[in-house]
Symmetry: C2
Subunit: 163 residues, 2 copies
DNA sequence: TAATTACGTAACCGTATTGGTTACATATTA
DNA sequence: TAATATGTAACCAATACGGTTACGTAATTA
């Protein structure tokens, strides 16, 4: 899960950069910036699309774009989008949840731990819910490298316009 | 990571149950209760011992026992104990952290995301730091199944005394 | 002292997951 | 109609993990 989340957030950040220019961004250029494969990007974009965070457009000039403004998309939205049925829970008890352990004391411990793990997960999600893509962008522009940020923005819109 | 944490916490909970009776608990009996293999238990106990949460005793009548009272051991202590160098971080950027991506905008996004991910992780850890093994035990005894809890406690001390 | 117990650790295996890659059908644009 | 780009399946290699066996070593106990 962890790398998927980071990559997905990265993708969303790039799409947020390109959000002003109305042209979609293709998986090829995102993959190149991330140093990965276009199919990997498309797979994640597929999950993001299923969660209605991005829309995609087929055909020439196609690609992905955000469905709403970056300040309306939290990092929790992204996490929820890429969560898979195979990721039951960040703190899943996994193989412990079997019949062998379902004697009294075992199941009692389990339910107790699940409460605590659930609280920890909630705390994490609450934090992620408080950060939006817009926050990421403004942090980038303010703190890290303002002039490169401006240059990158114009580069990006140029890239997405040209192809 | 996630299963390791859950299993380790389970192990610690069992050791906490046995903490009053001064006899250590062997990996065999813990593994049996958890429906797993003694070696798996010993591996985790090895990490817990390295973090000075448990001590182990070799030889006949040996096993593991807590180094301090359950109310002095937080779930964060356990998480920290079993964190491995290969688990750099819950939100690690993984394969993104390569040279290809280290152009200006990419590295800016990364540092921004790392801040946010770090905050989320901190929130989670803070929650775990607030829960002790004693809390787990009392939750088990109070909420879930008081009479079984009492029975299990006496069973456990009997088990660890007899072998 | 000898036998038993139990840990510590290495080694190996099967499985699951993941990311990377190729390939191709489909849709959209020009 | 040609070019572009997505959607998706399929396959591969690498990694991680849990399970298991095996064995050396230490401590107890008879």
């Amino acid at each position: 899960m962890n790398s998927r989340f980071a990559v997905a957030t990265h993708i969303m950040a790039y799409l947020a950069f390109a959000h002003e220019g109305n042209r979609p961004t293709n998986s090829e250029s995102i993959a190149q910036k991330l140093g990965t494969n276009p199919v990997v990007v498309r797979r994640l974009i597929g999950s993001l699309r299923a969660a209605d965070l991005v829309r995609t457009q087929l055909g020439a000039g196609g690609g992905a774009s955000l469905t709403r403004c970056p300040d309306k998309i939290s990092l929790l939205d992204i996490l929820d989008a890429i969560e898979q049925p195979s990721d039951p829970d960040l703190f899943a008890l996994g193989s412990i949840e079997n019949d062998v352990c379902s004697h009294h004391i075992g199941s009692c411990i389990q339910s107790s731990l699940q409460d605590i793990f659930g609280a920890a997960e909630e705390a994490m999600k609450k934090e992620l819910a408080g950060s939006t893509l817009a926050d990421v962008l403004s942090q980038v522009s303010k703190i890290s490298c303002p002039e490169q940020f401006a240059a990158a923005q114009s580069n990006l819109s140029a890239t997405t316009s040209v192809g």
